[in-house]
């Protein structure tokens, strides 16, 4: 006769089956990796910083940079968040048909959502949005519909020190999604679409 499981065993089985999603793990891993790279940069002896600066200056137009770069890490982190939010398919908290209506209805943000210049010509129609966060900063997750009927997710956030380092626009492919990350109008944005 199969031994019956105690309630304690059932509780352990119940909780131990719960695992953090791989996308969130990856976000945190990138976040931690980026901060470790920054700490290593700060610990470089001053003379090496001087040498690195001299080399960087003398090698004109070179892509060699001796100090660790973190703008790609920050952009990748935001891209992971956009992919996660897109795939979650959570309902919008606010329904709106354009950005003016979004701005009027989303009073808890510390910035105004804007129509990105990048989206001009793409004929993306605003459906609504929900409040989100990126690294603890208030963000907005806007749902858009393409002319083909496909759903896009646009994240907008006022950049903190880390996101402010994002330089040129970048593109990522994550979980079958194409995610563009760029800075515009004082905000950092990430647009997730089916690749």
């Amino acid at each position: 006769m199969k031994p019956e499981k105690s309630l304690e065993e059932q509780l352990r089985t119940h909780y131990e089956s719960q695992r953090l999603s791989s996308s969130v793990i990856e976000e945190i891993r990138i976040l931690r990796k980026g901060s470790e790279q920054e700490r290593r940069a700060v610990r470089f002896p001053v003379r090496w910083l001087a040498i690195a600066a001299i080399i960087a200056v003398t090698i004109a137009g070179s892509a060699l940079v001796l100090l660790p770069r973190s703008d790609r890490g920050a952009a990748e982190e935001l891209a992971m968040i956009a992919a996660r939010d897109h795939n979650r398919r959570l309902a919008v908290e606010v329904h709106a048909s354009d950005y003016d209506e979004l701005r009027a209805k989303m009073a808890r943000l510390d910035f105004n959502p804007v129509m990105p210049q990048r989206a001009e010509g793409m004929s993306l129609r605003v459906v609504g949005a929900r409040y989100s966060s990126v690294g603890g900063s208030p963000a907005v997750e806007i749902k858009l519909i393409e002319p083909s009927g496909g759903i896009c997710t646009l994240i907008q956030v006022r950049p903190d020190d880390r996101l402010a380092r994002i330089g040129s626009s970048k593109q990522f492919v994550i979980d079958g999604l194409r995610i563009d990350v760029w800075k515009e109008k004082g905000l950092v944005m990430a647009l997730a679409r089916t690749a």
Binding site: S6, L7, H14, Y15, Q18, L20, V24
Partner: protein, 172 residues
């Protein structure tokens, strides 16, 4: 923040597998607090951001404490009643639960959803994480006697909730 628990975990997280295990354990604790996947994910993520920004330790006890503090802050902002006062109780012997098959994960999950956050938290830390009453008391800033009383009442309450759902008979 109170001094965190010293748990037997490696300080060097160069091993990615160990780091993932830590995050899974943190998520399970967040699920015990919130009983909601998205809220738990957000809590873990926010706690990790806080640790990165403060340069804090990735030691398990510190991470769980950070998650708990973020949970309390979040609910205070939303002005929800979170942790209700619990009367201190004398030390009570641990209740020996009857051997009964509650292999109805849906019923267990629903019953857990009916518990208060502090009840799930205490049950989780004791049963799943194997924390002693003193360790739970240190993490939750409660007297040890209160923890024992809460654990006793929570097990009884969960047993009752499950019995109602499963219609199980027999002595409990």
């Amino acid at each position: 923040m109170k001094e965190t628990l010293a748990t037997d975990v490696p300080a060097d997280w160069s091993d990615d597998a160990d780091f993932k295990d830590l995050l899974h354990a943190a998520f399970r604790y967040a699920m015990a607090l919130t009983h909601a996947v998205e809220e738990a994910e957000d809590l873990v993520h926010d706690a990790c951001v806080a640790i990165v920004r403060s340069g804090g330790s990735w030691e398990k006890g510190y991470l769980l404490t950070t998650i708990r503090n973020r949970f309390i802050d979040r609910y205070r902002r939303n002005q929800r009643i979170l942790f209700v006062p619990i009367e201190e109780g004398e030390d009570l012997p641990d209740v020996q639960l009857k051997e009964q098959d509650y292999l109805l994960s849906g019923a267990l999950d629903q019953a857990l959803g009916e518990l208060k956050a502090e009840e799930r938290e205490t049950l989780f830390l004791a049963v799943v994480e194997g924390y002693t009453a003193q360790q739970i008391a240190d993490l939750t800033s409660r007297p040890r006697g209160t923890v024992l009383s809460l654990l006793h009442r929570t097990k009884s309450k969960l047993r009752t909730l499950l019995t109602r759902r499963t219609g199980a008979e027999g002595s409990i």
